[in-house]
Amino acid sequence: MALEPEPEYLVGGEGSGGRPLVPFAPVACDFLDALSQELRADPRVAEHPDVMTFAFWCRAAHIARLKTDFEGSRPGQQARIGLGRVFHITPSNVPVNFAFSFVFGLLAGNANIVRVPSKPHPQTGMICDALRTVLAQERFAELRAMTTFVRYGHNDRLTGAYSAGCNARIIWGGDMAIQNIRKLPTPERCVDIAFADRYSFAILRAPAVLALDCAGLARLAESFYNDAYLMDQNACSSPHLIAWLGGQAQAASGIFWEAVGRIAEKKYPLSEIQAIDKWTHLCQDAIDRTVVSGVWKYANYVYCLKLQSLPAKIDELRGRFGYFYEYDAGCLDRLAPIINARVQTLTYFGINQAELLDFVISQRLAGIDRIVPVGRALDIGLIWDGYDIIASLSRVIGVA
């Protein structure tokens, strides 16, 4: 029998704990600002836009805004305090999500045990280095005792031990991984937040795209590029399907993809294997999916497969590295049948946000947890994946 590998503690030690804090506790907010500064001073971070984004996210001004938003959404000021200890099982496909997961737990007022991805992302090292440095400061001694970052390979014994001793778990992962972790027992009142595989898409109103001037079109294309290409379409909020509304879809599609292609060609570091993967995916889709009627390509930077109808299992239509599906829906109602519980982020252009919200509510849809403009798909927030994170990771003290 193989020996179990030892867990590797990147920050803190085995037994993090301590008493919970209130949400947005001053010490937590100060700590995040110090972490932000530490990261921004690290020359390595400049080469990693995702770490830079995280660093900016943690700066004092942004945290203060999140605090205002949180308190503003709860008039009457309920008294809240963290649940206790949160155990995070974080994803390997998006390197910095383990850090956001930690911040969720901390801002809600909890001690945290964060299992970082076993894949050796350089981002993990940078962020853990900064955490250690900042936690070493005396003013954060209390947080030091509440913080553990650990790395280990597949190990149900360790995951089980951490699960047995926590008040909440944040589980990022594929369906199978989540099912398996759910089998490990937790205390009775433990809360699980599962960030499972999700599916995201975009809705563009064709006449609005056609009405854009050159600069406007370039801005839209760049925003879309950021949503889709920055994470190789691997993020759960990156779009795979583009649905056109309002007629004139063919004309709008032509100029839109052309503009996206021009930007991708300039910015996207397409590798040989990615080009081959896309070509293979295209041929396989042609074989497997009769709903695909044709393809539009911009070199090997944009593959756009035309759908003549929408399949029920829309979330199976996934692309990577700039590979999309497109459907001329005409009107919103035509999309309702395919919005299942897997659908997370809807990015939109040229449509009223309220109209889209009304679509979800009035059609009583099982999916769509976020409605954001094109360009903001990757903006992570404290309302995420259908959860109010701070509320979910804290408890309310009822006072009468």
């Binding site: 040989e272 294997i273 080009a275 081959i276 042609a286 074989i287 695909v292 009627s293 044709g294």
Partner: protein, 360 residues
Amino acid sequence: MFDLATIFDRPAFSLAKAEKAGLFARALSELTRHHYARCPQYKRILDVLGFDVGPTHAMGDQPYVPVRLFKDNRLLSVNHDQIVKTMTSSGTTGQSVSMIFLDKVTAGNQTKALVKIAAHIIGPKRRPMLIIDSRATLKDRALFSARGAGILGFSMLGHDVTYALDEEMRLDMSAVTAFADRHQGEPVLLFGFTFMIWEHFHKPLAASGGRLAFENGILLHGGGWKKLSQLAVTNEVFKHRMQEVCGIRRVHNYYGMVEQTGSIFMECEHGRLHCSNYSDIIVRRHSDFSICPANEPGLIQLASLLASSYPGHSILSEDTGEITGEDDCPCGRLGKTFTIHGRIKDAEIRGCSDTYGAGT
């Protein structure tokens, strides 16, 4: 319909640029039409691409199937009952394998082409042959691995065919020395897969300090450099070391893949890989699949006139390389010459030889 017999009657490296371009345009266009009519998956691909099979297209305008498609799909253009052989690339355990379905005609043409190409390099006379592999590789006759198929195909070039390795892939020294004694001073033929030769023939010989006397022999080998380049063994080092352990001076590498068995690319006396009358290559840029001029590296597309029972007449490989010339090799053979740089990075390991991956 294009008749392969017309080129089987000619020497294997005899088509000059203009004639070859015309002939390949006609023959490949017919093959594309043939597979479009008979292989439903191939038809779907061309329909989605909007490709018009009607007119004659130059080779550069032919559609190309990515090699990985042969792993996840059973692509064939004949009825199942006409299949006489199923070839597999065989990666290590757990990897998916390509499956290539051959009918009698395609299998026969592959053998014919292989013999014509190899004979042009080593001469038409059959030679005593030492196969640096194990007989065990040929176990299952109905399901051929690329290695098994290579052994059987090349065996046609030899007589007194002798296996140098036992069932456990150990060097069978008594069989090898007996072979050497039987054919002292004769122009023997040695054949095997590059990494097998290195690992199971060169290594034990070098370790024992033994030296075989194959000074007049020829060694043909193929199946990939991936493992050897990890050991920093180049083609030159390989040749040099082989001469050290068995005196052999004529060593020819070949490039090919199970998806296009038969129409292999042989290294000539001047160290260049050659396209034959039955095959051609195009190098493409990965950014848009446009065609690279000579001496610009890119992805390799391979065409073969032999593939009629499965739609593999034009495929896009996961290997990179560059064209080094056309009709201008000092060896006098016509056709394009090229070099292979290797497998694209992070590609799923796939290849031509059992267990050892790689197809270069």
